[in-house]
């Protein structure tokens, strides 16, 4: 008889446990999770929000761990005339607008970004394909730039647009994380073109594909369904999860 009772207790505690998981933090669902496959991603996102609520840092390494030949994949040299013109001018004509739900719309040059206090971190880049490599990244914490722009209280997501047509977005917990950088330096040098010059995103607690290269515009928003195709990221249409913490 005792078996039956403990079994019943176990089954009864299930919805309570999953409820806690899903309501443990506010806004704990990813923007797109409608499908059956998305259910797993939603559980992962909700549980990671709980796990990361105190903003732990991703592991950092000593410089001796830097990979010799860090892979450069996807776009490695945007062909557009716009980009090639910027590149020819050593990115002195490059401007980064910070738009949307901010009190001060900013338009920052590369030198403007470098005037912010910088952060340098040696971290591991994990590609969804399976490989991983270590590099040193230098840049300004995104949180510092968003602070300068004066984010409005209803802001929930930060959307990033790249010169090669890619775009992606982060929810605030990752956007405001101290290791989330607008990186302009790699391994002690200017960020090279194959790695996203002049500025790329570093999101150390998500997989490689969230680390958008060639960033040209940033938009702060309270919703994603009215942006581009409404899925939150360019990769979602290809089947890649918006949240890539695993």
């Amino acid at each position: 008889m005792s078996n039956l009772i403990s079994r019943r207790k176990l089954l009864a505690s299930l919805p309570a446990a999953s409820g806690l998981l899903l309501t443990g933090s506010k806004d704990s669902l990813p923007p797109t999770y409608g499908s059956l496959l998305g259910l797993g991603d939603a559980l992962t996102f909700a549980s990671h929000r709980l796990l990361l609520r105190n903003q732990p840092l991703a592991r950092e390494f000593g410089r001796e761990m830097i990979s010799k030949r860090f892979p450069a994949i996807n776009t490695t040299n945007p062909a557009s005339a716009q980009y090639q013109g910027l590149r020819a001018g050593r990115f002195t004509e490059w401007w980064l607008p910070i738009e949307g739900l901010v009190s001060n719309h900013l338009k920052l040059s590369l030198d403007d970004l470098k005037r912010f206090p910088s952060r340098t971190q040696v971290t591991q880049h994990s590609c969804e394909q399976g490989w991983s490599a270590i590099a040193e990244w230098t840049g300004v914490p995104l949180a510092r730039v968003l602070q300068e722009a004066g984010m409005l209280p209803q802001a929930r997501y930060v959307v990033f647009y790249a010169v090669d047509g890619w775009w992606d977005s982060l929810e605030m917990l990752d956007a405001l994380h101290p290791q989330t950088l607008l990186a302009y330096g790699m391994n002690g040098r200017e960020l090279p073109v194959p790695y996203g010059a002049p500025v790329r995103l570093r999101v150390e607690r998500q997989l490689g594909y969230k680390n958008l290269k060639y960033v040209i515009r940033i938009e702060v928003t309270d919703r994603l369904d009215n942006i581009e195709d409404g899925t939150g990221a360019v990769g979602v249409a290809e089947g890649y999860s918006w949240y890539a913490g695993i």
């Binding site: 005792s2 078996n3 403990s6 079994r7 176990l10 089954l11 299930l14 059956l36 496959l37 998305g38 259910l39 797993g40 991603d41 559980l43 992962t44 990671h48 796990l51 990361l52 732990p56 840092l57 991703a58 592991r59 390494f61 761990m65 990979s67 010799k68 030949r69 860090f70 892979p71 591991q124 994990s126 590609c127 969804e128 394909q129 399976g130 490989w131 991983s132 490599a133 270590i134 150390e204 607690r205 998500q206 997989l207 990769g235 290809e238 089947g239 890649y240 999860s241 913490g245 695993i246």
Partner: protein, 228 residues
């Protein structure tokens, strides 16, 4: 000990009496697997198949394995599978893998918690005394290795590949010697689980398929009684 076990004796050959009296034999029916074991078994079976299929889809993107922290195209591989890389299957593959993993983990936790509380593990897998349909020693070793060895290792090495989980629990890197080591161990554990699955299914077929399958669906297992 045997409380709750259902013993029913019936005349299995009663309708064959007109053909031959020799066909008449006695059978004992007992409940071999409890409801919770049967339910969790089939949920687990489905999720393991989904994990294997989606795991293969993910693997195709980069069928090379490394040891240590890092590993990529230009670094030497610990071993490499003779597969043509296919980058187009990991989107759905990853989502299905993690959905199946959630189901397998929740289901597995229910099974393990029940197994400990009800003393199921102690009675069926650890007790030195075999009961009437007890498991053989190799069977016990196999089941215990899968439940308390391979599956936890697969789960923990899987979590070690998560940049978010390892930010919260960097100890996982220490446990497995780096992200790439964890990925390699994950692959080896998955293969051993597949080996178990093949042997498990083969033994199910060889030792009376219908009876075994019925006992895992309805619980009823039929044992021929000794002639007396």
């Amino acid at each position: 000990m045997h409380r709750g076990r259902l013993f029913r004796v019936r005349l299995a050959g009663v309708f064959m009496l007109s053909y031959s009296l020799a066909a008449m034999k006695l059978q004992a029916q007992s409940i071999r697997h409890k409801g919770l074991v049967r339910t969790t078994h089939w949920i687990n079976a489905l999720s393991i198949v989904a994990l294997a299929v989606s795991g293969a889809a993910i693997l195709l993107a980069h069928p090379r394995f490394y040891w240590g922290e890092t590993g990529y195209f230009d670094t030497p591989a610990a071993f490499e599978l003779p597969l043509t890389p296919n980058l187009d299957q990991s989107g759905w593959g990853r989502s299905l893998h993690f959905l199946a993993a959630w189901i397998a983990v929740i289901n597995g936790l229910i099974y393990v918690a029940w197994g400990l509380i009800s003393r199921h593990f102690r009675r069926r897998l650890l007790s030195a005394r075999a009961d009437s349909h007890g498991y053989s020693v190799p069977q016990r070793v196999a089941y215990l290795t899968v439940v308390f060895g391979l599956l936890p290792i697969a789960i923990l090495t899987g979590l070690t590949m998560s940049p978010a989980v390892t930010a919260a629990y960097p100890e996982l890197f220490v446990l497995f010697g780096g992200r790439q080591s964890a990925r390699t161990i994950h692959f080896i554990a998955a293969n051993l689980l597949m080996l178990f699955l093949v042997v498990h299914v083969a033994m199910t077929i060889l030792s009376g398929f219908g009876n075994n399958i019925r006992s895992m669906i309805t619980g009823v297992y039929t044992t021929p009684l000794e002639e007396r």
